[in-house]
């Protein structure tokens, strides 16, 4: 919905192609990385094989945060430029971020049960992810309940910025409140044999997230196009039909 007024179908095909390539790349990388992580890398000294969930857990965490950060940047970009492209990317980024945060909680619980003996622990990172999950679910609910696309875009951008600003405060407050998580894992502390599959999988999940965002933004764009300029009997839509929309559907920056 950006600059070109060329046929949206061609553009849709192109983004579908890019997403397809990214997904294929991700599947290849994911199978290589997971193979190394599961069969080649040494088991961890204390936790044994349970630790191998790290090869998917940490990439999910990094990319979930990345998707939500991306959504925040898109929110600011929308408020500054009022370009609809950023609204569709915002929707896609939040949805991918929410799904990844949910997966993160599930993976964390699966790991915590054999390691700590409990499903859930009030550790700062775990709790922060849970709070973020609900905060951004709220943003998605807001998008669902606002029918006017102009309002929906502006308000969800506002809610995204506010929720994102909260993340560091939540983290520090929970950290002061209670803590027993193991030290933050950084690849530098790790043996090469463990870091390599982690990096490969991180790239793979990033490609997967990017593909999801591209496809989801495309879907959002199709819906938005429909809402902003509903198909009318005539070729030129009347001004009344466009009331509430600040720009025509094919327009670029406002």
């Amino acid at each position: 919905m950006s600059q070109s007024t060329s046929s949206p179908a061609a553009k849709g095909d192109r983004s579908r192609l890019v997403a397809g390539i990214l997904i294929a790349l991700s599947l290849v990388l994911l199978s290589i990385g997971s193979y190394i992580g599961l069969f080649v890398a040494p088991p961890e000294f204390y936790m044994g094989d349970v630790q191998r969930i790290m090869y998917i857990h940490v990439p999910t965490a990094w990319n979930g945060m990345l998707a939500l950060t991306f959504a925040m940047v898109m929110a600011v970009a929308f408020l500054v430029t009022r370009n609809w492209k950023y609204d569709t990317l915002l929707e896609a980024g939040i949805e991918v971020g929410v799904v990844f945060s949910f997966l993160l909680c599930v993976q964390g619980s699966l790991w915590a049960k054999p390691t700590w003996g409990v499903w859930w622990d009030w550790d700062p990172r775990l709790t922060t992810v849970a709070v973020m999950l609900f905060a951004f679910l709220g943003v998605l609910a807001l998008r669902h309940f606002v029918e006017d696309p102009v309002r929906r875009a502006a308000w969800s951008a506002v809610a995204t910025i506010v929720s994102f600003a909260d993340v560091p405060i939540v983290y520090f407050s929970v950290r002061w409140w209670n803590s027993l998580h193991q030290l933050q894992t950084s690849p530098k502390m790790m043996d090469k044999a463990m870091a390599r599959p982690l990096h490969i999988n991180a790239l793979a999940v990033m490609a997967l997230a990017a593909a999801f965002i591209i496809l989801r933004a495309k879907l959002a764009e199709t819906r938005l196009r429909d809402q902003l300029a509903p198909p009318l009997p005539e070729a030129n839509p009347s001004p009344i039909a466009l009331a509430g929309a600040p720009e025509p559907a094919t327009g670029g920056k406002a």
Binding site: L142, V146, I161, S163, V174
Partner: protein, 220 residues
């Protein structure tokens, strides 16, 4: 000047709808009573959790109070008139947010005697306690006013406002519960200051952010 005019309008509005405020207080007190059933009749446990009960009750009551504060503006389309005035939306926001802050502070202060009676959780450190309530109420009011302005214009406001607001207020809740408990149960490690600091930091982020973003919410 615009700010004072807006604040005057909002305080007058709160005063004239004071029946509503007392209903919210009654709800808060009822919530305190109900929350004590969740912990059982063990007096020591009740006293231990009194701070948590107070803040959960205040948080739920504040959702009612915040959503009412914007509902009146949209009922007779008064908000449209306000936005047509040559006044900045920022002044409207801060007027509303300060009025909400004062109202929530009074509400919190009124719930304290209920807490003292129900849970035997008294303290003579009245001014630090009032400080915690004032800072906590400010933390609720800044993002709460922003989100209430959105929610008041939607059909699903009853569920949307708490869904958006409550996860956001986790740091405020944590800090206020800890600080109140420290005041009630004693503070041997002298930790009260760091929780107050967290509240100050939360307010320092969300008061400017609210003013910055309110224009987008009000004008769309």
């Amino acid at each position: 000047m615009q700010l004072f005019a807006a604040l005057h309008k909002d305080l007058l509005l709160s005063w004239r709808t004071r029946a509503q405020a007392s209903a919210v207080f009654a709800f808060g007190a009822a919530a305190l009573l109900l929350l004590s059933f969740a912990a059982g009749p063990d007096a020591e446990a009740l006293r231990h959790n009194a701070g948590g009960f107070l803040w959960v009750a205040l948080l739920f009551a504040s959702v009612l109070s915040l959503s009412a504060s914007f509902q009146v503006e949209y009922e007779q389309r008064a908000m449209e008139g306000l936005l047509l005035l040559p006044a900045s939306p920022r002044a409207l926001y801060y007027g509303k947010a300060i009025a909400n802050w004062l109202q929530l502070t009074v509400l919190g202060a009124m719930l304290v005697p209920v807490m003292v009676v129900l849970f035997d959780a008294g303290t003579w450190r009245v001014f630090p306690l009032l400080g915690v309530i004032a800072l906590g109420a400010a933390g609720i009011s800044a993002p709460g006013t922003l989100y209430a302005a959105m929610a008041a214009q939607l059909r699903a406001q009853q569920v949307l406002l708490p869904l958006l607001l409550l996860p956001l207020l986790v740091p405020v809740l944590l800090a206020c519960v800890k600080a109140t408990s420290l005041l009630v149960m004693g503070d041997p490690m002298n930790q009260l200051g760091s929780w107050m600091l967290l509240l100050v930091a939360f307010n320092a982020i969300f008061w400017p952010l609210g003013g910055l973003l309110f224009g987008v919410v009000a004008e769309e």
